[in-house]
Structure formats: C-alpha cells, structure tokens
Symmetry: C2
Subunit: 113 residues, 2 copies
C-alpha cells in the first residue's frame, strides 16, 4: 500500500513569527521618524540644536535652508506636532527649541526594535 | 538737524544661524529615517530583530502584519534600499536580517543633531 504524498508548495517556515510591537506603539515610533525623514527638517533640527541658547528664531532659519518662511513654518509645524521641538511666540516671531528628551526618546525607540 | 531714522520691519535677529549639516549628510540621514517612518516597516523590523537566529523569511512576515506578500515585499525593499536590512534569496523564499550596525548608525545620526 502506498500512502498519498501531498507537497504543499506554499509551506516554507518553521517559526510562527508574531509582531512583537503593538500597532499603536509602532504608529507612535513611525510618526516620530516620519518627521525626521526629510532633509530640510533634519537641517532645521540641527540648526536649532546648535543655536546659541538652544533656540532659534524662525527668521534665522529661512535663509540658511534657502526656502520661504511659509515653507519653513510648515516644516516647523510638523516637527512641533511630532513633539521634537517646542514653539514660543514672542511678538512677531516664533522661537523654536529642541523638546526635552525628544531625541533621546527616538534613540530609545531604535534600541527597542 | 534731525537724522533720518529707518526702522527695518523685517529685522529681528542677532545671530547668523547657518546650517551645521551639509545637504548631502542631511539627505543621507533623512533617507534612513524616512524608511523608519511607517508603522508597518517598524513592525517588520521589530519582527526580524526578535526572530530566532536573527533572520526571518518573507513567508513568516506577511500574516502577522495582515498584508499581502506583494505589499510586504515592497516595504522590505525600502528597508533593504535604506541599508537597514540585508536580503538573502534561498530557493523560493527571501530571508531578511538586520544589517550590521544599521540601527546604531541611526542612533549616531540622532546624537549628531
């Protein structure tokens, strides 16, 4: 007697890999890195980080990146919404500083992967 | 005699902030973070990172994220192109592992900001 042999062409794997990261946590991490995933925003963050007193006026950020104030404001809003920088309005101008622990939190997220 | 006084309404700033980061470097960093800026890619990286033997078959990655193999392959291509994972074809299936030092390099980029 011969036993029927079935070869499952789709079978390949021994392990049952499961997502180790809850979706909400993955979304939080992705939001942070998405904000960092643009060369202009990386340069703006770098400028703010190295600015005297740890903060920079929007009026000082436009020329070095060669973009209009509207475009720079848009990038700064994305960075602010992502929690990477804080914004303070003083008269006509907005001043930006790195948010406490924001880059550390991003580094922490990387180490947790 | 009265000297003419001109008030420049656009003047605001004392410092001359300059980009501390060359554009090419900012673009390199942004590419890396853009690849991390998606929740599915964050979950895929996390699964690969925690997989037995440090590598995962594409066939094990689709079900846990609930996406088609085509979509997961696309995400894996973006992660591979960004240098975050390596890809090895074995027969029918592609296997992925974290690229040596890739997450460290991303952490380094964060600290450099």
């Amino acid at each position: 007697m011969t036993l029927p042999v079935t070869i499952d062409q789709t079978a390949c794997c021994t392990s049952g890999t499961a997502p180790s990261l809850p979706l909400a946590e993955a979304e939080r991490i992705a939001r942070l890195f998405k904000a960092l995933g643009d060369p202009t925003r990386v340069r703006l963050l770098s400028m703010i980080s190295s600015a005297e007193g740890g903060e920079a006026c929007i009026c000082d950020l436009t020329d070095p990146v060669g973009l209009s104030q509207g475009t720079v404001s848009h990038h700064m809003k994305l960075l602010t919404d992502a929690g990477l920088v804080t914004r303070e309005q003083r008269g006509k101008w907005a001043y930006f500083a790195l948010a406490d622990g924001a880059l550390d939190a991003a580094g922490e997220a990387l180490r947790g992967l």
